[in-house]
Symmetry: C2
Subunit: 176 residues, 2 copies
C-alpha cells in the first residue's frame, strides 16, 4: 500500500472512532471525512460501504471490551465489567448500537459471540465464588448488560443514577 494511503486509512479510522463514539452510528460519512481532513471519496475507497467503516472500528472497540472482560475474574469480575461498560457507554454510543443489533448490522456476529463467551466466563466464576445466584443464566445477563448500557447512553444517566440502577441489578444477581 502506498504511504499516503496508509496514512489516510489511519486518519479515517481515528476520525471515525471519534465521530461515531460521539454521535452514534447515525453520524454521516461526510463528517468522518471532514474530521479526517480527507475527501469523501477517499473514505469510500478505503471502506466501500458505511457498514465496512463501522465494522472496522467496532472490531477494535469490541476487542477492547473482550480483553477487558478477559482480564477480570473472581467473585466481583462480572460486576466490575458491568460497571465499566455502563460508565464507558456514555461516550461510546457505537458499541451499544452494535451490541443491540447482535452484530448483524455490521456482520460481526462472531466478535459479539466472543464477548458473550467472555461474559459467560465471568458469570461462571462469579457463580463459583458464590457472588451470583446459581439460578441466573447467561442470556438474561447479556440482556441486562445491553439494556442498562443502552439506557445509560440514551438517557444520559449521571453517575449517581448509574450507580443506583446498577445497585438494583447487582442485588438481583446476588444470591438471596
Amino acid at each position: 500500500m502506498r504511504a499516503d494511503a496508509q496514512r489516510n486509512r489511519i486518519r479515517i479510522l481515528v476520525a471515525a472512532e471519534e465521530v461515531f463514539t460521539e454521535t452514534g452510528p447515525g453520524a454521516s460519512t461526510e463528517e468522518v471525512a471532514r474530521r479526517a481532513g480527507v475527501a469523501i471519496g477517499t473514505v469510500f475507497r478505503h471502506f466501500p460501504t458505511k457498514g465496512d467503516l463501522l465494522g472496522a472500528i467496532m472490531k477494535r472497540l469490541l476487542a477492547e471490551l473482550i480483553e477487558s472482560a478477559g482480564q477480570r475474574g473472581g467473585g466481583e469480575g462480572l460486576f466490575e465489567f458491568f460497571t465499566e461498560l455502563t460508565a464507558q457507554a456514555s461516550y461510546k454510543r457505537t458499541v451499544v448500537g452494535l451490541l443491540e443489533s447482535g452484530g448483524t448490522a455490521v456482520r460481526l456476529p462472531e466478535a459479539v459471540g466472543h464477548l458473550t463467551e467472555a461474559v459467560g466466563g465471568l458469570l461462571s466464576e462469579a457463580q463459583a465464588a458464590g457472588t451470583v445466584s446459581p439460578g441466573v443464566a447467561l442470556p438474561e445477563v447479556m440482556a441486562l448488560l445491553v439494556s442498562v448500557t443502552h439506557g445509560a447512553v440514551h438517557g444520559g444517566w449521571d453517575a449517581e443514577l448509574r450507580e443506583r440502577t446498577l445497585a438494583v441489578v447487582f442485588a438481583g444477581l446476588r444470591p438471596h
Copy 2:
C-alpha cells in the same frame, strides 16, 4: 369540522397507531397515509409535522399506560405493571421511543411526568407493603423500566428471556 375531515382524522390516527406500533417512530408518513387510504397531503393537513402525529398517538398510548398503572396497587402492583409494559413493548415500539426521549421529541413532558407519578405511587405502595426495599428510589425504577422495555423491544426477547430478565430485576427490587 366537516364530516369527511372527521372521518379521515380518525382513519389517520388508527393507521398511525398501527404503523408506528409495528415499525417504530422511524416509519414514514407516506406509509401512514397509504394505510389510512388517504393522500399524504391530508395527513399533513391534520398534523402539520410528523412530530404532531407522533405526539397525538403517544398521548393516547401514554394515557392507557397511566390508567393501567393507576388501576394497580398493593405489594405487587409495581411488578405487575413492569411485566405488562415489557410484554406490550414487543408490539408497541413507539411508546418506548417516547419514554426514552423523556417526551421531548414530541413535546409531551407533562404526560411522561404523569406516568412517572403513577409509577411513583406504585413504588410507595409496594414499599409500604414491604415487597420493595426501602432503599430503592423512583429514578432508578424509571431507568430500569425504560431500559428493560427498550431491550425487550429492540432485542426481540421471547417470553422466557423476558421472564428471566424481569426475575433478576424484581429480585433486586425486593428486600434482601
